[in-house]
C-alpha cells in the first residue's frame, strides 16, 4: 500500500500541471502539441512484496521484451542476487530455487499471491510457463512475518501478465536446438463488461543434447565419451484466463490457470534412467474483490484453490507414485492509514490435503498477521514492525519482524530488516515415504532468523543496491543415511549463511541498458556431528553473478549476457565438489514490421562457448544452443497506450 500512496502523491501534482495548462486560454485557439500521458500502472496487489514488506530487499525482474531471450522461469530467477537455481538440464526439466543459502524448501513461491508449494514442500518453478508471466518479485530474507510458512530464505511472487501490459492480440512461436519449440497466443482487452486476458501456450523439447561423459576428469588421462542425453524430453501446455470488473466500486478479479506437463526423468550422468517419467497437472483458480473506502481504508477479500497431480512411473518408481494435492484458502486483507501509521491486517484460513498411495493427510491452515508502517520525520523514515501467528496442521509459530528504511538525499536510501521464518515439515517428510526416502513423524519445524541491510540508489538512469545479510537456520531437516539402502529425514543441523548482494541497472541512453548482479556468500554448519561440523553447506556456491548488456534502437536490439557460479561442494563433508562454470549467451531482436501488426524476429544463442556444465545434482547441462522466435502483436499494449491531449491555441 505504501507504494500506491507515494504514486498517488506524485501523480496528483503532475495532473494538476496538465490541467493548469489546459485552463489557460486566449482569444484565439492555440493548438498545442500532443501530449503523451502514460496511464499509470495498476497498483501492486496486496501480496506483492513491495506492498506487504515495504522495507524488504526485493528485486523485480521484468519479462516483457525478453520472452525470446529467457527460456524458463528458473533462468529468469537466476538473475536475482542471492538466488541459486538448481536446474535438471534441458527445457521443461525441474528447477528449484534457493535464496540466501536457505534450503530450496525454504523459499515460498507464489503465483499472483497463491502459494505453489505444498506445506513444507519445494516448488518446481519449471512448471510455471513464462508465457503467462509479466514479472517476478523476489523478496530475500526470513519473511514468515508477512507470508507465513516456508519463507525462511525468502519469497518469490510470480506475477501473471495483466491486461495493461499485453497487446490486444499477441502470439509467438519459437524453435531451436534439441527439438525444442514453444508457442503462445492470447488476447487482452475489454470483455464481458470488464477487461480480460487469456493466454494459451504449449512447448516441447526432445532434450537430447550431447554431452561429454568424463567421470575421470582431473583424475586420469582418459578420453571422455560423447553421449546423447536420453529420456530428457518434455511436453507441456496450458492456459491463463483473467477477467476483471468494477462492481459498485469494488474491483473484482478472477483468475483461472491450468497446466499439463509430461517429461522424462533422465537421471544423473553416472546412472541415467531410461524410462522414469513424470506427469503433472495443475488447476489454479482465484477470485478477489478489492475496495478502497473514502476514509482511506482498503479491503481485499480473496478465495483461491489449487489442485495438482503428480504421477511418477518407470523403473525407479515401479510401484508408481501418485500424489493429488488440494490446497485452498480465504484471505482478508485490511489496510488503513491513521495519521503516520499505515496499518495492515491479514487473516487467512484454508486447508491442504494430499492423497497418495502412502496416505491422505489433511491439514488446516490459519494465520493472522499485523503490520504497522510508521512514517517518521516527514516520511523520511519508515519503521515497520510486523508479527504473524500461523497454525499449519499440528504446528504453530509466531514470526515477528522489524524493518526500517531511511530516505537520504540524491536518491539514496537505506533499508534494514530483522525477522523470523519457519518451515513445517512437509507431508512427504512426515507421512509419505517415496522410494528409498523414509519418513519421520517426530520432525519439528525448521526456523530461521535473518538480518540484513542495504544501501539503495534510484535515479533517472540508474538504480543500484548493495548490502549484506546474515541468517541462522536451525532444526534443519536433513535426510540421513539409513543402512542398508535408505535415508530418513532428521532435525539434525543448524547453519549460518552470510554475505553480500549487489544489483545494478543502468540506462544512460535510450539505446543502451546494462544490468548485473553479484552475490558473495559463505555458509557454515554450526550444529552437527564431527565430520560436518564447521563445514560449508553443500549446494551453495560461494559466488554467483550475471551481467547483461543490450544496445540498439527500438527496432534492433543486440544483447550479450554472462552468467556464472563458482565451485560448489555436493556433500556435507565437502569432500566432493563440482567445478564452477561461466556461460555466455547472446541474441538479437529485429522488429520486422513496426506497425499493426508488429512483427519481431529474434535469435538467441545460449552457451556460445559450449561449456560443459553440470547442475547441482550432477545432471549435465546443455551445451551450445540456438533458438529463433517470431512474435506478433496486434495493437499496442496498455503500457504504451496514450491519451492525446489537444487544446485550441
Amino acid at each position: 500500500m505504501a507504494f500506491w500512496r507515494w504514486a498517488r502523491r506524485g501523480l496528483g501534482p503532475a495532473l494538476g500541471v496538465v490541467s493548469l495548462a489546459w485552463g489557460q486560454s486566449s482569444s484565439e485557439p492555440v493548438l498545442l502539441a500532443p501530449v503523451n500521458v502514460p496511464l499509470p500502472s495498476a497498483p501492486p496487489a496486496p501480496e506483492s512484496p513491495t506492498v506487504r514488506d515495504p522495507t524488504g530487499q526485493t528485486s523485480v525482474v521484468d519479462i516483457s521484451g525478453r520472452r525470446a531471450e529467457v527460456l524458463s522461469t528458473g533462468a529468469l530467477l537466476s538473475q536475482v542476487p542471492g538466488a541459486v537455481v538448481d536446474s535438471s538440464g534441458g527445457l521443461g526439466q525441474s528447477e528449484s530455487i534457493s535464496l540466501r543459502g536457505a534450503p530450496n524448501t525454504g523459499v515460498l513461491v507464489l503465483l499472483d499471491g497463491i502459494p505453489l508449494n505444498g506445506p513444507g514442500d519445494i516448488a518446481d518453478v519449471s512448471l510455471i510457463p513464462l508465457s503467462i508471466l509479466g514479472r517476478a518479485e523476489v523478496l530475500r530474507g526470513s519473511a514468515s512475518s508477512r507470508y507465513g510458512p516456508l519463507a525462511t530464505g525468502g519469497v518469490v511472487n510470480l506475477v501473471t501478465r495483466t491486461v495493461g501490459d499485453a497487446p490486444p492480440t499477441f502470439a509467438d512461436v519459437s524453435g531451436g536446438s534439441f527439438g525444442s519449440w514453444r508457442g503462445s497466443l492470447g488476447a487482452a482487452g475489454p470483455n464481458l463488461g470488464g477487461s480480460g486476458l487469456f493466454v494459451l501456450h504449449a512447448a516441447h523439447s526432445d532434450g537430447d543434447f550431447t554431452y561429454l561423459y568424463e567421470p575421470l576428469l582431473g583424475e586420469a588421462p582418459s578420453v571422455g565419451q560423447e553421449l546423447r542425453r536420453m529420456n530428457n524430453q518434455s511436453t507441456s501446455g496450458g492456459g491463463l484466463l483473467k477477467q476483471g470488473w468494477d462492481v459498485s466500486g469494488w474491483a473484482v478479479d478472477a483468475l483461472l490457470e491450468g497446466n499439463l506437463l509430461s517429461r522424462g526423468l533422465a537421471g544423473t550422468e553416472d546412472n541415467p534412467s531410461s524410462n522414469d517419467e513424470q506427469s503433472t497437472s495443475r488447476v489454479l483458480a482465484s477470485v478477489r474483490a478489492q475496495h478502497s473506502f473514502s476514509n482511506g481504508a482498503a479491503l481485499s477479500l480473496r478465495l483461491d484453490a489449487r489442485r495438482t497431480t503428480d504421477d511418477l512411473s518407470g523403473g525407479d518408481f515401479a510401484k508408481g507414485e501418485n500424489d493429488r494435492l488440494w490446497q485452498s484458502g480465504a484471505t482478508a486483507d485490511l489496510s488503513i492509514t491513521l495519521g503516520a501509521h499505515a496499518l495492515d491486517a491479514t487473516a487467512t484460513a484454508g486447508f491442504a490435503r494430499v492423497s497418495s498411495t502412502a496416505g491422505s493427510p489433511t491439514w488446516a491452515l490459519t494465520s493472522l498477521a499485523l503490520q504497522d508502517e510508521w512514517l517518521l520525520w516527514q516520511g523520511q523514515v519508515s519503521l515497520v514492525p510486523a508479527v504473524r501467528v500461523d497454525q499449519t496442521g499440528p504446528f504453530a509459530a509466531v514470526s515477528p519482524k522489524l524493518g526500517v528504511s531511511l530516505g537520504l538525499p540524491l536518491g539514496f536510501s537505506v533499508r534494514a530488516n530483522a525477522g523470523y521464518g519457519f518451515r513445517p515439515p512437509s507431508f512427504s517428510e512426515l507421512y509419505l515415504p517415496s522410494g528409498t526416502l523414509g519418513v519421520n513423524a517426530n520432525l519439528q519445524p525448521e526456523r530461521s532468523f535473518s538480518a540484513d541491510g542495504a544501501l539503495l540508489y534510484a535515479g533517472r538512469w540508474a538504480a543500484l543496491s548493495a548490502g549484506g545479510f546474515w541468517t541462522r537456520y536451525q532444526n534443519l531437516i536433513i535426510y540421513e543415511y539409513f543402512p542398508p539402502f535408505f535415508a530418513k529425514p532428521q532435525n539434525v543441523s543448524a547453519a549460518d549463511a552470510w554475505g553480500m548482494e549487489s544489483e545494478v541497472r543502468v540506462r544512460p541512453w535510450p539505446w543502451l541498458e546494462a544490468s548485473g548482479n553479484y552475490t558473495l556468500q559463505w555458509t557454515e554448519d554450526v550444529r552437527d556431528v564431527a565430520p560436518y561440523f564447521g563445514r560449508e553447506l553443500p549446494y551453495r556456491p560461494r559466488q554467483i553473478g550475471s551481467a547483461r548488456v543490450q544496445a540498439g534502437p527500438d527496432w534492433l536490439h543486440a544483447r550479450v549476457e554472462v552468467e556464472g557460479r563458482s565451485m560448489v561442494t555436493v556433500n556435507r563433508s565437502g569432500s566432493l565438489s563440482l567445478p564452477g562454470h561461466v556461460f555466455v549467451n547472446t541474441g538479437l531482436d529485429v522488429v520486422v514490421l513496426n506497425r499493426t501488426p508488429r512483427l519481431t524476429a529474434s535469435v538467441q544463442l545460449n552457451n556460445i562457448l559450449n561449456v560443459q556444465g553440470q547442475d547441482l545434482d550432477g545432471y549435465p547441462l546443455p551445451g551450445r544452443a540456438v533458438f529463433a522466435t517470431l512474435a506478433l502483436a496486434l495493437g499496442e499494449s496498455g503500457a504504451n497506450s496514450v491519451r492525446e491531449s489537444e487544446a485550441p491555441r
Binding site: P215, S222, A318, W374, L376, F482, P483, R527, A530, L576
Partner: protein, 587 residues
C-alpha cells in the same frame, strides 16, 4: 512531538522484548553434535561403551591392560574389565585381576602363575617370570631368548603389553605385530579394521583373540567409507571424495596429503606391491563407474613426521584410469597376474542395467592404461528360479581361488507390483578359467556351482578359508523392511557358507538375535575377513561384527555373537542404524 517520541520508544521496547525473548529461547547455539551412541567429552565425540579413556563416563580411564567392554544389554555405557587372556588347560585364564590390577600371570613376577596368595608366586629378587609350556607362568633365573622387562619374560614382537619396548601397552583394539619395515621389534597394529557407514563414516580397530576379540573405539573415516586397503603402514579408506590415508598404528589421519581422486562410491581397493619399481593402488568406484589407478614409491610409510607435526603421506599420485560406462557399477575384482576380472553389477532396476550383468577382463600390464581383453556375459548363466520365470543375474564379487576366477552371482527379480527386489532363485558361483580367452558370452567359463537356497539367499561376498583351503561365502539373505520406518523386520537365510575344495557345502552359520524376544535388529551377514583361523563377519544391518571359528573340517562355530551365555557381538560401528561396509585383515 513528545508523544511521537514516547510512542517510538514504546514500540522499540515492545519489539526488542519480542525479539529478545525469541532470540534467547529460539536460536540454537553453535555446537558439536554427538550421535550414534557417542557422547561429548571435552569437545570430542567418544564411545562410552568401548573407549578405555572414557569408559562408561567422561574421563573414566581404565587401568593399564584393562579394556572397556560394552554391556550385554545393548546399552551405551561400558565397564572396565581385565581381558580374558588365553585359556589354560584347567579352564582358567592367563589374565587375572590381582589386587586391583590386571596381571598377566605368565609374565608378572609379582603374580607369577596366579595371583600372589591365591595360587601364584612372587618371584624372588633376581628371578623372572617366564611362560611355561602349559601356558601358565613360573619363576626362572633367566628369560633365555625372550626379553626381560622388569622381571617379566616377554617377546617384544608379540606381547601387546610390551610391544616393541618394555611397558608399551597397545591401545584397546590393537595387537602387537612385527613391524612391517623392521625398524622396531614390534608395533601396535590392529588385527583387522572395520569400515562403518552410518550418518557419518567410521573406521575402527579390532584385536583378535581365540578367546575374547575386542573392538577399539572408532575414528572418523570419511564420508560413506566402503573400501579399505593397506599399503605399508598406512590404511587406505575409500570414501566419497579423496582417498583417505590413516596411519595403521593408531588410525590417525595422515595429512595434509589426500590423493585427489573424486570418487563417488568406491567399492574396492587393491594394493599391488609386486614390483620393485613402486606400488600401485587400484580404486574401483561403483557409483562413478570407473577404475582409478594411483602409484607410489616402493617403500611408502605413513609415519614420517613433518616439521609441523603432521604425518607425511604415502606419496600416492594419480596414474591412470578406466571408464566402464554408465550404469555398470563395478565391484570387487580378482587378479590373475597382470589381468583383472571386474564384475559389473549394473544399474537399478533391470531395464537400466546398462553394461552390467557382465564380467570385464582388463589387461593392466600398463596400469596407467587398462585395456579390455574381453567380457563374460553372466546373463547367459544357467540360473535356476523358484517359479521357472526370468531372473536378473548380478555379479557382485570375483575371487581367485584354486587357479580359477570365482564370480558370485546374485539371482534377483523385480516384483512388478511393489518394485522391490526379491530372490528369484538360488545364488550361483561361476568359475572362469583364466587360461581361456573370453568371447563375450560364456566362453572360458568352466563350471557353475548352485548354492543351497535352503540356507543361503543373495550370496554377495567370498573369502578363502585358510584352514581348509575351501571357500567361505557370505549370503545377505532376504530382508523385510518396515515401509515407513525402514527398520529391518526380519531376515531370511542370511548366512556364511563353508565349502570344501570341491565347492561342496560343509557347514553354514547364520547370525541371529538372542532368543527370548529382546529388542534386536535382525543381522545381515556382509563382508568377511579371516584372521588367525577365525572369520570376522560384518553386519550390514546394525554395524555389528560376529566372530566365527573355523574348524579343521570346515565347521563354523560362533565365538562372538548373541548366545545363551549373554554374549553380544562386537560393536565397532555407531550404535543404532549403521552398516559394516568393509573389513580388512592386517598382515
Amino acid at each position: 512531538m513528545k508523544d511521537a517520541k514516547r510512542g517510538l520508544l514504546l514500540t522499540l521496547a515492545a519489539v526488542a522484548l519480542v525479539f529478545g525473548l525469541g532470540l534467547s529461547g529460539c536460536l540454537q547455539t553453535s555446537a558439536l553434535e554427538c550421535m550414534g551412541g557417542t557422547t561429548e567429552c571435552n569437545v570430542t565425540c567418544v564411545y562410552l561403551s568401548v573407549d578405555p579413556f572414557n569408559c562408561g563416563g567422561c574421563g573414566n580411564a581404565c587401568q593399564p591392560r584393562a579394556i572397556c567392554v560394552a554391556p550385554t544389554d545393548g546399552g551405551n555405557l561400558g565397564a572396565c574389565e581385565c581381558p580374558v587372556g588365553n585359556p589354560l588347560p584347567d579352564g582358567g585364564q592367563t589374565i587375572l585381576l590381582c589386587d586391583g590390577a590386571c596381571s598377566d600371570i605368565t609374565t608378572d613376577p609379582n603374580n607369577c602363575g596366579g595371583c600372589a596368595g591365591a595360587g601364584g608366586t612372587v618371584c624372588s629378587s633376581g628371578q623372572v617370570c617366564a611362560p611355561t609350556d602349559a601356558g601358565s607362568g613360573a619363576c626362572e633365573t633367566s628369560c633365555g631368548t625372550a626379553t626381560e622387562c622388569n622381571g617379566a619374560c616377554v617377546t617384544l614382537s608379540t606381547d601387546p603389553n610390551n610391544c616393541g619396548a618394555c611397558g608399551n601397552i597397545c591401545p584397546q583394539g590393537y595387537d602387537c605385530h612385527a613391524t612391517p619395515n623392521g625398524t622396531a621389534p614390534g608395533t601396535c597394529l590392529p588385527d583387522a579394521v572395520v569400515a562403518c557407514i552410518s550418518n557419518t563414516g567410521t573406521v575402527a580397530p579390532i584385536f583378535d583373540s581365540p578367546v575374547q576379540p575386542v573392538a577399539g573405539p572408532g575414528v572418523p573415516g570419511g564420508t560413506v567409507p566402503e573400501a579399505l586397503g593397506i599399503l605399508g603402514d598406512g590404511l587406505l579408506v575409500g570414501a566419497e571424495g579423496p582417498l583417505g590415508e590413516l596411519a595403521l598404528e593408531n588410525l590417525s589421519l595422515v595429512s595434509p596429503e589426500a590423493p585427489p581422486i573424486n570418487a563417488s562410491g568406491p567399492t574396492f581397493i587393491e594394493v599391488d606391491t609386486r614390483s620393485d619399481a613402486g606400488s600401485w593402488v587400484y580404486v574401483v568406484d561403483g557409483t562413478g563407474n570407473t577404475l582409478i589407478v594411483l602409484t607410489g614409491p616402493p617403500s611408502a610409510s605413513a609415519q614420517v613426521l613433518l616439521p609441523d607435526g603432521g604425518l607425511q603421506g604415502l606419496g600416492l599420485v594419480l596414474d591412470g584410469g578406466f571408464i566402464f560406462g554408465q550404469n555398470t557399477d563395478p565391484q570387487p575384482y580378482a587378479r590373475v597376474n597382470n589381468e583383472i576380472f571386474v564384475p559389473l553389477y549394473g544399474g537399478y532396476p533391470p531395464n537400466q542395467m546398462g553394461n552390467g550383468g557382465t564380467v570385464v577382463r582388463l589387461d593392466v600390464t600398463n596400469p596407467s592404461v587398462p585395456v579390455v581383453v574381453g567380457t563374460y556375459d553372466m546373463k547367459l548363466a544357467p540360473l535356476q528360479t523358484f517359479d521357472g520365470g526370468l531372473s536378473d543375474p548380478r555379479p557382485s564379487q570375483a575371487l581367485l581361488h584354486e587357479g580359477l576366477v570365482y564370480v558370485v552371482l546374485q539371482n534377483l527379480v523385480v516384483d512388478p507390483d511393489t518394485g522391490d527386489y526379491d530372490s528369484a532363485g538360488p545364488s550361483m558361483l561361476v568359475k572362469i578359467d583364466p587360461t581361456q580367452p573370453p568371447d563375450g558370452g560364456l566362453g572360458g567359463v568352466s563350471q557353475y556351482v548352485t548354492l543351497d537356497a535352503g540356507v543361503c539367499l543373495n550370496a554377495g561376498a567370498m573369502a578363502e578359508n585358510s584352514v581348509t583351503g575351501g571357500l567361505l561365502v557370505s549370503c545377505f539373505g532376504q530382508a523385510q523392511f518396515d515401509p515407513s520406518t525402514f527398520a529391518t523386520l526380519s531376515v531370511d537365510r542370511s548366512a556364511v557358507l563353508s565349502l570344501d575344495v570341491n565347492d561342496v557345502l560343509l557347514a553354514s552359520w547364520s547370525p541371529q538375535c538372542p532368543a527370548g524376544g529382546a529388542a534386536c535388529t535382525p543381522p545381515i551377514a556382509g563382508p568377511l575377513a579371516l584372521v588367525n583361523g577365525r572369520v570376522y563377519v560384518g553386519d550390514s544391518s546394525s554395524g555389528r561384527v560376529f566372530v566365527v571359528s573355523l574348524g579343521a573340517i570346515g565347521q563354523l562355530t560362533q565365538l562372538v555373537g548373541y548366545g545363551p551365555d549373554g554374549g553380544v557381538p562386537l560393536q565397532p560401528c555407531p550404535t543404532g542404524i549403521s552398516d559394516v561396509s568393509a573389513i580388512i585383515t592386517v598382515p
